[in-house]
Point group: C2
């Protein structure tokens, strides 16, 4: 097998930065179309500004979604620029979902700053989310070129999946930790495929759609993005329990303290062994866990194999993603950059 | 001038019922695509079911938007059936906006039942709204025929306007009752044109778009719908202060008690005469008004001419709507039914 030509293959951090830089002007222009109040909340949420509107660069996130859109377009043989409008729509939807999900989940901080509803109020945060949602649809619907309608169809299907995933996640909260009604790992996987996978799948798929790629190419890239999303969620779950608070910005054992139903816990419980049963008792009181209880729960999850199972699941999902990309011809340089993102995202620490 | 042929011109209640009946199966089918939890909330909000999902017909509203969509298609020379998908999208957006606006406005009842957030919780109501929004876009994006993309573009622009109007309405709340920062009647009109007018304009415009009408026809119908929407809002404001509680289902002087900035109050205050100044003092304490204060405030609004000005504004808007329809050729029977809706909506008592 010949290795891909090494004409241009930057390391993941450079790739992500390059894509962020290419999308930023169009994203900023889209945000300027919003009502000034919503533009301010969007700039805050995007890490561009403080609550008073002054420039105060916060963390802007890795930008994995926008990178996937541009790289997918290149992989499908088009210039990245053709897909910028898709990357903008995906970023707007990402911010929309953060704004609304943070309200539903009662999360008060994100990336070590206040969440939008906490800083601006619930009503304004709901409306700003709606504004971003509308702007995303409008951006694609009014995009020039022949692929606008197909892009909108893909985004609309994604939104439906996204909402379905969030609904299942919310409903998991009221399900018991053990017994026949307990949430099974496969149900969690399905939820994550919708809640996290759908938007990454859309990001990759939109790049190919806007590149005018054939359906098989669009589907292969979308499928890869979707499974990468599930892997991403699994790693997020690992970091939510065993991540370094200095890096993640969240307290140690954060997800366990808050009794979040995550993949490590659910796969531990599903083993139904002695550690799983002790874990179910510990979690089943319904009260948030204190320091020692959370540490004990983390040990039990690990003892029951939940940590190993989650890491294995992340790798399994990445393998599916990788294999999906082998089914269609793609431009080698861009493909190489996409593939290099996979271990970078799975082995991250924050 | 020859009168329009009297082959088919039913009275407004019959027209509205006929259109509701024609849209209902497609709307029900769309709602069935939702996550079951969201389908339940949608059915509740549409007045089809009680909170336990059992059939419990509540008020389903007049259905003015869906009627405008079907009649506009007919006025543009197409069968009403061609526009059913547009009517479904508009109804879904209407319910979405009710769900979210009721949270933002803190409204606990609507049509004499609990609002969705009150019955199901804030988080679920936010998400159900998002689901309806996504479904509306998807419904149009996947509609068969050549006009789907144009229909999505029109819906997307409408959503942007809708959100902008709601933002202005929320921001009005924190503005003073008098002085240079007071909300002026023309600002209120602009807000209402977005918040209420945009969706009625979209309803009418979509009917014409889906009928394949030329741009001038689409714009004439959309413009008529938009102005009809402002008239509708003005009448709503009159009913919110002087409506019969037995008919409206709201307490007497409801809007004044809650210090809502409505057209009658704002146009009364803008006269800046003695009654306006007494009214500003009464409202300016910032506390909700008790029975006698609310009655006194209603008298002052009337004395300052706010009630007359609002009714005049409603009629002025309907005149603009009517004139807009005279600028293009339209099928006489459907046009007659559209025009008959105007006085029906302006002279309504609930």
């Amino acid at each position: 097998m010949t290795p891909p030509p090494a004409t241009r293959q930057a390391a993941p951090p450079e790739v992500l930065a390059r894509c962020r830089d290419q999308v930023r002007p169009a994203l900023a222009q889209a945000v300027r179309q919003l009502h000034p109040w919503h533009a301010e909340m969007a700039a805050f949420s995007l890490g561009w500004a403080a609550t008073d509107g002054s420039p105060a660069p916060g963390s802007q996130g890795k930008g994995i979604r926008q990178a996937l859109t541009l790289l997918s377009a290149e992989a499908a043989g088009a210039p990245a620029q053709d897909a910028v409008v898709g990357a903008v729509a995906v970023e707007l939807i990402h911010v929309f979902s953060l704004l609304h999900d943070d309200i539903m989940d009662g999360d008060e901080t994100r990336r070590q700053r206040a969440t939008v509803w906490k800083a601006y109020g619930t009503g304004p945060a709901i409306l700003a989310g709606d504004a971003l949602f509308a702007l995303a649809v409008q951006t694609l619907a009014e995009a020039p070129g022949r692929h606008s309608a197909a892009a909108v169809r893909r985004l609309a299907g994604t939104l439906t999946d996204l909402v379905r995933g969030q609904a299942d996640d919310l409903l998991f909260e009221s399900r018991p930790w053990s017994g026949p009604e307990a949430v099974q790992p496969h149900e969690y996987r399905w939820m994550a495929e919708n809640k996290t996978g759908a938007l990454l799948g859309c990001a990759a798929g939109l790049g190919a759609v806007l590149a005018g790629a054939p359906d098989t190419t669009v589907e292969a890239l979308a499928r890869a993005g979707r499974h990468l999303g599930v892997a991403f969620q699994a790693v997020d779950d690992l970091l939510g329990t065993w991540g370094d608070p200095e890096v993640t910005g969240k307290p140690v054992h954060s997800d366990l303290r808050r009794l979040k139903k995550t993949y490590p816990v659910l796969s531990a419980l599903a083993t139904d062994g002695p550690a799983a049963r002790r874990l179910a008792l510990l979690l089943g009181t319904g009260n948030p866990l204190a320091d020692t209880e959370a540490r004990r729960a983390a040990e039990l999850v690990e003892e029951a194999g939940g940590r190993t199972a989650t890491l294995a699941e992340a790798h399994r999902q990445v393998d599916i993603a990788r294999r999906s990309l082998e089914t269609v011809p793609l431009a080698p340089a861009a493909l190489g950059e996409i593939l290099a993102l996979f271990p970078y995202l799975v082995d991250r620490t924050g």
